[in-house]
């Protein structure tokens, strides 16, 4: 049989086999990574886009550098905007270029009286990027308790984190993820020098404390929810160094109050009754169960290096997505049937080739999406319906060219027609493909979902046209294709 000698026959078989292998995992109940993911707009769920403040981070970094200059090099400096200024009367010779470079700094300007140093931009960008990666881990440990396996958390852009939690949420995770969780202990001080007043707006409790914290949350080792007389409290333990500081602190300040401050607001200010050695303590406030639990979780996960804000949040109920998909599938099936009926009525047998091509094109599209573990979203469904359109267009171009070649009495109307039409198809599809690739690179959210299915769709359509449609045209005698004019 000559059919066995045709490479398109074997390729077509290979494509079908590939589709079968690639699509199967979607129907199996295992944790295979080669499945199509469904976007939150389809399966329902929550997404949060978090932004870590660049300004606050920069400020913290500058403060750290100023104190490092003082400690390591005995140099006094001040922060002016995003620059550090040093008085030239000091011995600046220690601060050579090598030292500056190691600290990620650049000497910006040297006037008669002051030297100005700034952060090296590249170093700063890298610090932000590292800080964000670090924050991803902190946020991950904060939401870990949800036990949601499909939860996804990733860094996007320089200083943003995208958190996606499929399904319905009982707990309010916003509280957990949007807190910096900077814990400070300030000792009460009855003076107006270097002090400030903290007030708890809920309870009305207020206390005047030293500006500088005596102990910070950096020394925290663990925190957990406990009950004290049936009311929830958070117990914490400090590491060795922290325990020493805390012991020293409490022994010197018996009878004074110690303010426990989270992200700048006072939680409570208990009186120190006795020296606390061993580094264990309890934070009690007027907590509800959930509040105390959340506090324990965020303290345990550690504090974020900068302020964090939710810049986008979205909650999709499960019914909306389900309805959307059902309708999308109906729309695709009906569009498919309508187009098939029309094409068969217009092109007879060749119309049937088109119908088969569309089905295989869709199979290939889903296979590739499964293999790439791509995410299907509602705009993506629209992209798929358009893939059907592009596939039909390719068929129409080929058929019309073949018909034309009959009129022009070409020697080999089928092959000439296919080849010349395929150049046109390639040109027009590649242009759209390039545009879609750029869309994917720059786009966000729905634009991405749409462009990914368009990219894979165009590719599938090209492959199917080149292999399967041509195969049909090769094996079916020209008189039976319905393309020859009588």
């Amino acid at each position: 049989m000559s059919i066995l000698k045709k490479w398109r026959f074997w390729s077509s078989l290979l494509i079908l086999l590939f589709c079968y292998v690639a699509i199967t995992p979607n129907f199996q109940n295992n944790d295979s990574s080669n499945k199509i993911n469904y976007g939150l707009d389809i399966q329902g769920g929550n997404s949060f886009l978090l932004e870590l403040s660049e300004d606050v981070f920069k400020n913290n970094l500058l403060l750290k550098i100023v104190s490092q200059l003082e400690l390591d090099y005995n140099l006094r400096s001040i922060i002016n905007g995003d620059q550090i200024e040093l008085n030239n009367s000091q011995d600046l010779s220690k601060l050579n270029n090598q030292v500056l470079q190691s600290m990620g700094l650049i000497l910006d300007n040297k006037s008669e009286t002051t030297s100005t140093i700034v952060l090296d931009n590249q170093y700063f960008k890298k610090s932000i990027s590292d800080m964000t990666l670090n924050a991803v881990e902190i946020i991950r440990s904060r939401v870990d308790f949800l036990g949601n396996k499909e939860l996804s958390i990733q860094k996007t852009g320089l200083n943003r984190i995208l958190l996606e939690i499929p399904g319905n949420l009982d707990q309010n995770v916003k509280e957990l993820i949007s807190k910096t969780a900077k814990l400070n202990f300030h000792i009460e001080k009855d003076s107006y020098i270097d002090t400030f007043v903290l007030e708890n707006t809920d309870t009305g409790e207020f206390v005047r404390v030293m500006s500088r914290p005596s102990l910070t949350g950096d020394y925290l080792q663990d925190a957990s929810l406990q009950y004290d007389n049936n009311s929830p409290v958070v117990s914490f333990s400090l590491n060795k160094a922290g325990a020493d500081i805390f012991g020293d602190l409490t022994s010197k300040n018996v009878g004074k109050r110690i303010a426990i401050v989270l992200d700048g607001s006072l939680i409570s200010a208990p009186v120190v009754r006795d020296t606390i050695s061993g580094g264990a303590g309890v934070i009690s406030g007027n907590f509800t169960n959930e509040e105390a639990n959340n506090l324990a979780i965020i303290l345990k996960s550690g504090s974020l290096p900068t302020d964090i804000t939710i810049i986008q949040e979205k909650q999709v109920g499960p019914s909306l997505g389900k309805e959307g998909v059902t309708k999308g599938v109906y729309a695709s099936v009906i569009a498919l049937i309508a187009i098939t009926v029309f094409m068969i009525a217009y092109y007879k047998v060749s119309g049937l080739f088109t119908a088969i091509s569309i089905v295989i094109c869709l199979l290939l599209l889903f296979s590739l999406m499964s293999l790439m573990n791509a995410t299907l979203t509602l705009p993506g469904v629209i992209g798929i319906v358009l893939t059907i359109g592009m596939c039909v267009d390719a068929n129409v171009l080929v058929y019309e060219r073949i018909k034309e070649n009959f009129i022009n009495k070409s020697d080999d109307p089928k092959n000439d027609g296919f080849n010349s039409a395929f150049i046109t198809i390639l040109d027009s599809n590649l242009t759209t493909l390039f545009a879609a690739v750029f869309l994917f690179a720059f786009g966000f959210g729905p634009i991405r979902g749409f462009s990914i299915s368009l990219i894979i769709g165009i590719f599938s359509s090209l492959v199917v046209t080149y292999v399967i449609l041509k195969f049909f045209l090769e094996i079916v005698p020209i008189n039976r294709t319905g393309l020859k004019l009588k």
Binding site: E51, K174, I310, I311, Q312, E313, K314, Q315, V316, G317, S319, L320, E323, G324, K327, G328, Y330, A331, S332, I334, A335, A338, F342, Y346, L378, P379, I382, V385, L386, I388, G389, M390, V392, D393, V396, L397, E400, I423, T424, D427, S428, N429, L430, T431, T432, F434, A435, A436, F438, L439, A441, F442, G443, F444, G445, P446, I447, F450, S451, L454
Partner: protein, 290 residues
């Protein structure tokens, strides 16, 4: 045979008029910007109440915020947009709390976008749009000639611009999904144009033919006319299915795209191809022959 080339002046005038109308629309009526580009809240609810009831329910939550209620096509789903203001952080929780007490309103989806982030999204979308148009122009320039690239991009921009005017005219919400629709229109428009360009290139590259560009342009259009009609028809067929059956909050995208298909077909035939002759492509062909 129809002399398409003859109508170029009429189509240039018609398109100019359309463009002026679009400019006036954008200038005076403006675009119905969604929260993607303006920031704020968007809540989709299912309810058997009417627009006014819902508006008063949501206005009561915070009277300082502007509330816009829109009923989605052919369903009992409403899209409620609430502007951004002070206390955004907890506002969504307040809304959900209030609505959970109501029997006849069910929240399907809720979304918040911070106004500063929406500025990023605008910038992002513009980058996406401009970069893909540049890539298209570059590809056509490489594969064809600069006259083709210029004519193709002009037709594409014309289509995109009129589609934006269409959205303004019918008060269709302009959001990220619509950016995707616009890009789709750009893709379709250029697709259609390139099919014709390709035909013109084949016709003009034949040797021992007396160059008559207007005639060749007419031929290219005429020979492809059936394909143009069939493809537009089948695409619109698929889109009509989507309009009738699309997910509730995505019905407008296919409608805009149907407009795009029609305008894209028009611009390829009546704007893109004649422009190649207007740009004096004849001289390129003649210099190649001699």
């Amino acid at each position: 045979m129809i002399d398409f080339f003859k109508y170029r002046k009429i189509s240039y005038i018609a398109s100019s008029v359309f463009i002026i109308i679009t400019i006036l629309l954008i200038f005076f009526k403006g675009l119905n910007l969604g929260i993607d580009f303006k920031g704020g809240f968007n809540v989709e609810v299912r309810s058997d109440l009417n627009n006014q009831d819902l508006n008063s329910i949501f206005s009561q939550i915070d009277s300082s915020r502007e509330v816009i209620v829109k009923k989605e096509l052919s369903s009992n789903v409403f899209s409620i947009r609430i502007e951004s203001g002070s206390g955004d952080k907890v506002f969504l929780d307040v809304v959900k709390d209030k609505i959970s007490n109501l029997q006849n309103v069910e929240i399907l989806m809720s979304e918040y976008i911070e106004p500063t982030f929406s500025k990023d999204l605008i910038q992002n979308s513009l980058y996406a749009l401009l970069s893909s148009i540049l890539v298209i122009a570059f590809y056509i320039w490489i594969r064809f000639d600069w006259q083709f690239a210029f004519a193709g991009i002009m037709a594409l921009l014309h289509d995109v611009f009129l589609a934006i005017g269409f959205m303004s005219l019918f008060n269709i919400e302009f959001n990220l999904t619509m950016i995707a629709a616009i890009l789709l229109i750009a893709g379709y428009s250029i697709n259609d144009t390139i099919v014709l360009f390709d035909r013109l290139r084949t016709l003009t590259s034949k040797e021992d033919v007396k160059i008559n560009l207007p005639l060749m342009i007419n031929n290219s259009i005429f020979l492809n006319l059936r394909r143009t009609i069939l493809t537009s028809f089948t695409t619109i067929l698929a889109l009509v299915c989507l309009v009738i059956l699309a997910p509730v909050n995505l019905t407008e995208m296919p409608i805009v795209f149907i407009f795009g298909v029609l305008i894209g077909t028009y611009s390829s035939i009546f704007l893109a191809l004649p422009t190649i002759s207007v740009l004096n492509y004849e001289s390129v062909l003649k210099s190649r022959d001699s």
